[in-house]
Every structure is written in structure tokens, then in C-alpha cells.
């Protein structure tokens, strides 16, 4: 047999039916559901008199609209509350494998709770009405975001209509420098290939630098595959994957576990498998990254400068940079380390897992929030992450540093709840999107790693974390 890529293995093991033009019906193993993109799908299902095909494929939570403080007051925004209550009612009616409603001990961001509960397993197809579903590809799952019509389609048929993607290998070899994290790796990749560089591709991340990352780090990288335009990111199974999944609440046990592991170990690209495109990155050359514009590809290193549009020849690009600088309130050629921040956000499905919080705490330990910084939010990705962080005393470190320690949720990643930027405020954010208005109308987002966010919090401006840490 011809050598196959991981993507091809996952694809071919899920094809139920194929049309003449290549459009295929793909079987879906896991369906993740949250309150924002599901109400219209549940309603459509009901209106058509259809029943969900396999409710035990559903894992659900409320995360986008939920507040991150004063839980005793419930959800004060009536529109948000209605959306969350609609989810409650829908899940009560149809059922699920697991539902972690608002205030549940295991509630959290859908892309954090799926893996930590062992409901995301290697070899699965995983979908969710949310573009950052690519996160789950860290477990060698074929995982991608879908629209609400497709949410309804998956509920009704357990399948999705799909065309096969092209394959891209992003090979990151070498050793990451001190203070350089998974977030810096993925931002550097996006800086290299651009936000549309992965459009039409499934990206497999490989190489010694990817292998050396924890599952948390791999999830950070795959999470942002969509920011490079790719619907799906992938990392092959290895011991790190298997160790992570052992004894998770929904992970298989006993003989089932052994059978699963034997299969999972085959989930990697074969020697000699052909990719449609290959990108090579030298890990040792990556420095801490900071975005300066309104698209994740508008990124440079902390030692760099804001670009000068006058030096860009392509008129569409130049205008894009000019518009971004105007929105961000930045002058051409400003050194990144001279940009002051008024808020800091540590959280989101990119960087709210335990390892992310440890990285931020290592920088915050024994330091204080700069007076010029109005607020530092630390928002764990889930109730379980929160518990773990508190058991390790990370909450104390943050609180002692003058940071706010919050309840889990999406929070200021997209500011659907009360956590948001004021117009004109600059924010060092560990989230994944720096689009105009993403964190609040007029807000200015700079994407960074958790360590870099904490460094900005304690110094009031972007600071090379390598100079801070002892």
C-alpha cells in the first residue's frame, strides 16, 4: 500500500459515501455543542420533526456568554441568559453523553473540557459549531469547525458533507529557546505562511519541536491552525498523547484501553507519505512573538518594530497595513517594547490550560501589576483547570500580583459577556484573534503567549520575557 499521511488515514476511515465530484459523507464520532451556534440547529431539527441520530456523540457546555465573576448573581444580561437557558432546555430534551451547564464543576470552554474529560480521543472525527475545533487535532483527530446548518446536519444524520482537503506538513525542528512557547511557535508559523496560507489544507504539525511540546502546547498550536486558514490541524499520536489520556473520565479502560492504544499508535503519517505542501521552520530561530495589527499574520518578534507601510510595494497590502496601524493607534517603526498596555487577558481556548497558567504564574510570582495597567484578567479554561491551579497555589500568585482570578469561560476572548476592552485600550491577550472590535468595540488586541502577557502586566508594556525571568 502507498504510504499515507495521517490526514488521509483519518479521512478514509470515515467515508460513508462519495459523490462523483468527490463530495463525501463523513461519519462524525464526536459532536461538541455550545450555546451560541446551536439554538437555530435544535430549532430546525424540531421544525422538521427529526430526532438526533446518536445523542451519545454530544458533549456540551455553556461558555461564550457566561459571566466570569459573581456567579451567585446568575447571568445578568437577559439576552445571554436566554441563550444559555435555551441550551439547557435543548439538552434536557434531547440528551447527551455529557453536559456541563453554567456553574457545573466541570463547566468550561468547550475546547478545554473535551480533551480533559477524555471525550476527544485519537482517530475520531470531532466537529463543533466553532472554528477553534481545530484544537482537538492535537490528539490526531480530524477536527474542524462547522456552521449552524452543519450542526443541524450532524445532529440529524451523524454525518457531514465534505470535500477532501489538500495536505500541508509544517515541520518544526530544533530546540525552542528559553521563554519561547507553543504560542510563539504558532504565531511564527502564521507570520510565515499568512492567514490564508492554509486555506484548503489540513495542516499536520511535526518535527522535534512539536514532539517536545506537551498536549497543552500542541492544543495551542492546533487551535490556531484556523488562524492560518486551515480548517484542521493535526499532530500524530505518541507517548505524550497516550499518557495524557490515561485515566481521563471518559477514556476507555482495561482491555478497551489496550485495544484503543494499539490502534492509536498507527495514527501518524507513514514514512515517505506525500504532502501537497511542506513548510520547514527552525525552532531555535523563533523569538517571543507579539502581533501589532488586526490580523494574526500581522506579527513580529518582541525585539522587532511596527512595520512601515511606505516600504510595502503591493498596494492592497500597504493599505491593509495602513488601516491596521490607524485602528491600532500605532506609528510606523515603533519598537514593540514601547507599546503600553492598559489591560491584560490570560485565558481562551488557546491558552487557558494548566500549563499556560503555570507559565504566566512563573513570571508573575513575586511581582506586581504595573500601576498603568487597569486590569489583568486570569480566566481558567475550565472548572477542573481552576481546581488544579488553586491546588498548586497559582491563584495566590496571581492575586498577590494584583491580577483578577476569575471563573472559567470564554470571557474577553470575544467579549460576549461583560469582560471587554474600552475603545482605544491596548490589551496583551493570550487569545487567538486580534480582529477589529474582537475584545470590545474599538479595543486593540495584541496576541502573545501567557508568559509574555504576564510580563506585560508587570511592566506595563511589551517586554521580552527572556530578560525578566531569572
Amino acid at each position: 500500500m502507498l504510504p499515507q499521511t495521517l490526514y488521509e488515514k483519518l479521512w478514509s476511515s470515515h467515508v460513508v459515501h462519495q459523490e462523483a465530484d468527490g463530495t463525501a459523507l463523513i461519519y462524525i464520532d464526536r459532536h461538541l455543542v455550545h450555546e451560541v451556534t446551536s439554538p437555530q440547529a435544535f430549532e430546525g431539527l424540531k421544525l422538521a420533526g427529526r430526532k438526533p441520530w446518536r445523542v451519545t456523540s454530544i458533549v456540551a457546555t455553556a461558555d461564550h456568554n457566561t459571566p466570569t465573576d459573581h456567579w451567585e448573581r446568575g447571568i445578568e444580561d437577559p439576552v445571554s441568559r436566554q441563550q444559555v437557558e435555551t441550551l439547557d432546555a435543548n439538552l434536557r430534551e434531547v440528551g447527551s453523553l455529557a453536559y456541563f451547564p453554567f456553574m457545573d464543576a466541570r463547566q468550561g470552554i468547550i475546547h478545554v473540557i473535551g480533551p480533559e474529560n477524555g471525550t476527544t480521543l485519537p482517530g475520531m472525527t470531532v466537529v463543533c459549531g466553532d472554528s477553534h475545533t481545530s484544537t482537538h487535532g492535537a490528539f490526531a483527530c480530524l477536527a474542524h469547525g462547522i456552521g449552524t446548518s452543519e450542526v443541524e446536519h450532524v445532529m440529524a444524520t451523524q454525518c457531514l458533507l465534505q470535500k477532501k482537503s489538500r495536505t500541508m506538513l509544517v515541520q518544526v525542528d530544533g530546540q525552542l529557546g528559553r521563554g519561547v512557547t507553543a504560542k510563539d511557535v504558532v504565531l511564527a508559523i502564521i507570520g510565515e505562511i499568512g492567514t490564508a496560507g492554509g486555506t484548503g489544507y489540513a495542516i499536520e504539525f511535526a518535527g522535534s519541536a512539536i514532539r517536545s511540546l506537551s498536549m497543552e502546547g500542541r492544543m495551542t498550536v492546533c487551535n490556531m491552525a484556523i488562524e492560518a486558514g486551515a480548517r484542521a490541524g493535526l499532530v500524530a499520536v505518541d507517548e505524550t498523547t497516550i499518557d495524557y489520556l490515561r485515566d481521563k473520565p471518559f477514556s476507555p479502560r482495561g482491555v478497551q484501553w489496550d485495544a484503543a492504544v494499539a490502534y492509536w499508535k498507527t495514527l501518524r503519517s507513514d514514512e515517505g507519505a506525500q504532502f501537497d505542501k511542506v513548510v520547514r521552520i527552525d525552532a531555535s530561530a523563533i523569538a517571543p512573538q507579539v502581533t501589532w495589527g488586526t490580523s494574526p499574520e500581522m506579527v513580529t518578534t518582541v525585539t522587532g518594530k511596527v512595520p512601515d507601510p511606505a516600504r510595502i510595494d503591493d498596494p492592497v497590502k500597504r493599505e491593509g497595513v495602513e488601516r491596521a496601524l490607524k485602528y491600532m493607534g500605532l506609528e510606523a517603526n515603533t519598537p514593540i517594547t514601547e507599546i503600553a498596555v492598559q489591560q491584560v487577558f490570560i485565558g481562551s481556548c488557546t491558552n487557558s490550560r494548566i500549563e499556560d497558567l503555570r507559565e504566566a504564574a512563573a513570571v508573575a510570582r513575586g511581582r506586581r501589576k504595573a500601576d498603568s495597567v487597569r486590569r489583568v484578567l486570569v480566566v481558567p479554561g475550565s472548572g477542573l483547570v481552576k481546581q488544579q491551579a488553586e491546588a498548586e497555589g497559582l491563584d495566590r500568585i496571581f492575586i498577590d500580583a494584583g491580577f483578577e482570578w476569575r471563573e472559567p469561560g470564554c470571557s474577553m476572548c470575544l467579549a460576549m459577556n461583560a469582560d471587554r476592552l474600552e475603545p482605544g485600550e491596548h490589551c496583551a491577550s493570550t487569545s487567538n484573534r486580534n480582529f477589529e472590535g474582537r475584545q470590545g468595540a474599538g479595543g486593540r488586541t495584541h496576541l502573545v503567549s501567557p508568559a509574555m502577557a504576564a510580563a506585560a502586566a508587570v511592566t506595563g508594556r511589551f517586554t521580552d520575557v527572556r530578560e525578566l525571568s531569572q
Partner: protein, 212 residues
């Protein structure tokens, strides 16, 4: 879904790359549990000078006169010319819902984000990928010609310019057929229910650990 056949529509040029779904429909409007009514909030942050709230009547809000959609000559547009990577960002189907609700039926760009591209077809909206050089010419003509219209014929896969020039475009045969007929994907898929059931049974036997 509304079937798509021929649209002869007023055309508006949106001359910026990487238009993301947060720009197409800002998050505060995603709190709705409806599928319709998003049109007035399409491009909300660019279209209005104030910050829009869900459920608000938009007719009295101050409009941004510089934003292209607000120019009198483009009122009633059905065809949108756009730049690279249109619809990047989140999977929110509220983006095509808002475009469709506003009155758009066709979006022409050199490239689209994958999820957005997919979502369009589910909502009677036709996204067309066109070579950037050909598109540049459409932008130029559209900007300099009042009342510029493009005639888009899905069955023939052609775009006809006012000067009679015909441009061919590609579309997946399967998607084309669905859109032409206004077919419901779910109904189509359920014709294969037996196959799905058989696949599922085999998978359950082979990989029982996915069926906890």
C-alpha cells in the same frame, strides 16, 4: 433553502482584504436564537458611528457616510465584490445569514475562508472565486460606473458584465445542483440512512471505545 438561478444585480465593491466574520456580524448579535433579522447589523461597526446593541431599531442610528454600503448609489445591491480571504475567522453562520438578510445573493472574491465558503451554500448565497486580475477589472469598472450590474447565471456558470463580456467561473457540481434546486442537505443525506447505519455498526464493532 431558496433556489438560486440567475441574479442580475446591482454590484458593490468592498475593497479590503481579510474581511473577517467579526466585521461581517459583531459578536453582540450572536446572542440571538433566531436565524433571521441580522441584515440591519451587517458590517455594524463599519456601517454605523455608534455601537449597536441586539434588538435595537437601526433606522435612526448615525451612519458612517464613508462606508461603501452607505453610499446612495449602492442601495439595493445584490452582488458583493470582495478581496482575498473573505469571511475568515469564526464559523458563525450568522455571517452568511446577515449578508443574505441584507439582500446579497452573490459574493465574488479571489479567495474565501473555508468554513464561510461552505456556510454560504447552505443559505442560498453563491460565493464565486475569481482570478484576482479579472476581479481587479470588475472593481475598477464598478467604482467608475454608476448603476453597475453583474448578471450571474449559475446553470451556465457565467458572469456577464454590462459591456457584454462574459466571464466563466467554477463551482462544485454537487453544490451547484443543490443550490439550483434549493435542496435541503439533510434530506439528501438521509437517502443514505441505510449506508450510515451499516457504517456505524461496523465502526462500533471495530472501535467500541468510541461508543462509551
Amino acid at each position: 433553502m431558496k433556489p438560486f438561478d440567475v441574479v442580475d444585480g446591482l454590484t458593490v465593491p468592498l475593497d479590503r482584504a481579510n474581511v473577517d466574520t467579526d466585521a461581517i456580524i459583531p459578536k453582540q448579535f450572536l446572542k440571538s436564537i433566531q436565524r433571521s433579522g441580522f441584515g440591519p447589523n451587517l458590517f455594524d461597526e463599519w456601517r454605523y458611528l455608534d455601537v449597536g446593541q441586539p434588538g435595537q431599531d437601526c433606522s435612526g442610528r448615525p451612519k458612517n457616510p464613508d462606508f461603501v454600503l452607505n453610499q446612495p448609489r449602492y442601495q439595493g445591491a445584490q452582488v458583493l465584490l470582495a478581496r482575498d480571504n473573505f469571511g475568515c475567522g469564526s464559523s458563525r453562520e450568522h455571517a452568511p445569514w446577515a449578508l443574505e438578510d441584507y439582500g446579497f445573493r452573490v459574493i465574488i472574491a479571489p479567495s474565501f475562508a473555508d468554513i464561510f465558503f461552505n456556510n454560504c451554500f447552505k443559505n442560498g448565497l453563491l460565493p464565486i472565486r475569481l482570478d484576482a486580475v479579472i476581479l481587479d477589472e470588475l472593481f475598477r469598472q464598478c467604482e467608475t460606473t454608476e448603476g453597475y450590474r453583474l448578471k450571474v447565471d449559475l446553470a451556465a456558470q457565467t458572469i456577464t458584465r454590462p459591456d457584454g463580456e462574459v466571464i466563466a467561473f467554477d463551482v462544485d457540481p454537487f453544490r451547484k445542483e443543490c443550490l439550483l434546486n434549493g435542496w435541503d442537505d439533510i434530506g439528501l443525506t438521509l437517502r443514505h440512512a441505510d449506508k450510515i447505519r451499516a457504517f456505524e455498526e461496523q465502526r462500533r464493532a471495530q472501535h467500541p471505545y468510541y461508543y462509551a
